[in-house]
Symmetry: C2
Subunit: 404 residues, 2 copies
């Protein structure tokens, strides 16, 4: 008999009838002979409603009181889900974050889990109960309620899976798995049976959006197999594990893409004056996220630095840089909008040189201009014109034979 952690997000518990369906899924898992821990988020849009009330009351509500407010969302779901299970004759018990002893840092709004209590949940599981734990929330050593930030319920689920040495942690969501690329744009996108943690991390960071990177990192560190599957179905989803067990694993496993990017380039007349770290510290201070960074030095002693940002951050970025012109000592600023990032991801790339070259060739042959390039061990990203993004993804999907 194994232990399985099931996590259901807000859309999977957004109404009484969906909570009942979620209960059925949990019972099915229990009837397989597994011990079951269920982690749930707040019901559908209930968090938005709470945030709206807070914003009507205060311009910048205190983070402590926001955590106090938002933590009620999951507490409602856990109790209703416990009732739904009990109504089906299944013994069940719900625990809030603090009752489950999910200890976090003393940071409000985005805390990290530090520790977890073991005995209470273990006893309940031993009694044959399905244990339901509120996702997204924890408690500090001083008894303050905290929340874990975006993707927090996934993190709770993975942390519980690690603490109780679960066989796997199943992320039940509104998609049936992880795809080779975004099926809304590329019709021939295929559901993947397996992925490694690193591949998933790259895809998560590249905007695949199914899982929050923090929870994937956590699963990787504790070697917890993750499965992404549809909330209220019976089909297998995508397994995310340490190693690939399929023999014909492809070198490139997925294509990620993201639009609405802008390149900003800073030119210096003398490369000795390049205050690169100053650039990024000022941007960070203003909460501007920078993605791909390329530093160039031209023959004549000039220097330049290019980086990409979300297009929405352009005005703010230019204002920050112009404001600090004398500190940064640059000559001029330049920017290019309407760009996109298209990336290939696959852990087999490390041992397969030439993958990047095949990518660039394919894009060039199809008249997709490459504006910037960035690589990691298992990923190659290119910046291309926004209007060419889907075409580029399609070309790469074909080139690396992901449709079959």
């Amino acid at each position: 008999m194994g232990l399985v952690v099931l996590k259901f997000g807000g859309t999977s518990v957004s109404s009484v009838s969906k909570i009942q369906k979620t209960a059925e899924q949990a019972v099915l898992e229990h009837q397989k002979g597994n011990q079951v821990i269920v982690v749930v988020s707040a019901m559908g849009k209930s968090t938005d409603k709470l945030v709206q009330m807070a914003e009507e009351i205060a311009t910048t509500p205190s983070k402590r009181e926001m955590d106090m407010l938002l933590a009620t969302g999951e507490q409602i779901t856990i109790s209703l889900l416990a009732m739904a299970l009990q109504e089906r004759g299944q013994e069940a018990i719900s625990y809030t974050g603090w009752q489950a002893g999910i200890e976090t840092e003393a940071v409000h709004g985005n805390a990290r889990i530090l520790d977890m209590e073991h005995d209470k949940i273990m006893t309940s599981l031993g009694d044959g109960k399905i244990v339901i734990v509120a996702g997204f929330q924890g408690i500090t050593r001083d008894g303050e309620i905290t929340t874990l930030g975006r993707g927090g319920s996934d993190t709770t689920a993975v942390a519980l899976a690690a603490e109780f040495s679960a066989e796997k942690c199943v992320i039940c969501t509104d998609v049936d798995g992880v795809y080779t690329t975004d099926p809304r744009f590329i019709k021939r996108a295929q559901k993947l049976t397996q992925l490694t943690y690193d591949e998933m991390l790259e895809l998560a960071n590249l905007g695949a959006g199914v899982l929050h990177p923090r929870s994937v990192e956590y699963a990787k560190n504790f070697k917890i197999p993750l499965e992404v599957r549809l909330s209220h179905g019976l089909e297998n989803g995508t397994m995310i594990e340490e190693e690939m067990y399929v023999e014909n694993a492809k070198v490139v496993r997925g294509i990620a893409f993201e639009d609405q990017l802008t390149r900003v380039t800073i030119h210096w007349s003398e490369k000795e004056n390049m205050r690169v770290s100053k650039v990024f510290s000022e941007l960070a201070k203003n909460n501007i996220d920078v993605d791909i960074i390329i530093q160039g030095i031209t023959g004549l002693g000039h220097g330049n630095l290019s980086f990409t940002i979300q297009s929405a951050a352009l005005l703010n970025t230019l204002a920050v840089l112009e404001n600090k012109k004398t500190d940064i000592q640059y000559e001029k600023l330049e920017s290019e909008q309407n760009l996109a990032k298209v990336s290939i991801v696959g852990s087999g790339m490390v041992s397969n040189p030439g993958v990047a070259a095949r990518m660039f060739e394919a894009l060039t042959e199809n008249d997709v201009p490459i504006k910037m390039i960035s690589t990691s061990e298992i990923k190659v990203s290119t910046v291309v014109p926004e209007r060419k993004m889907v075409e580029a993804a399609q070309v790469l999907h074909d080139t690396f034979e992901l449709e079959n």
Copy 2:
């Protein structure tokens, strides 16, 4: 500098704008130089909505999970109220029942408070903060969330007032005080300036409805002065204290009345067979509340027992009694519907014989037939025809000169 506990019920915090008004009241109290603890209930009808969801999910939801569910209601209010205070520049901090260490019995749905933690709230008060505590909820020694049942937030407020030796506990509600009688029926009803705990207890039990008897008992035991006043006004309300300090305190302080009562009478042919305790144990087993009880023995060895019940419980009562006829060994049952209870209350009655006589005289003179009588040290209740109830209350209000 004193300490004041303010309690606001659900209707006083039913919307964002009412929460803001409640914040203003708390600030006003703080600006008088007092330390302030605020106890709040769940927002307006939010508890009803939670109960409705639970009832859609389960026919008889587990009491543990109901407490888990309902405790979210006050947690929402405390955080929003803290934000509203902070937005006004007033330092504030909110605590759930468990954070405030409100320890209760291990009973779900109707727990009693056993103990309370002192230091956390004391420190926050010392820091100049208004402390906001979730009413109606507590925690067992094992870390289970409990609720205190009807009137629970009043009880939380009084318990906090006792723990922190408050100057007074102010129950802020939608009426501006306790009246000599129900002003919806008797136009000349007057707001009382003061009442004793015992008087308030009798009035609360007699259906005056402003305060829950349990909280009044609690206040009496710990000698906490209670004030009942309008939530969002400045006027003084009614003080409820151990002793009356006004010189011209009247013997009768208030008139309570309640309609929709029915008298049931059981006749035995031989008084030796009267199984009186069996009657009441069977009724209790079936959750039938019995109010006034009169046992009579007639000259010929017959016996009878009369008691009043809510008219809505009549069919159930008759069914229970008929079912147990052989056990109870009675001869026949009889009942009279459309009755009401009219009572006079006043702690001065103990030392003023003749008050009851004046009451009966006044009723008789005004053609109000008296069906049953019940007395305590500070109360006389009469059962009269329902159609005469308001008239009887009016007569007594005049007789005991309560309008001036």
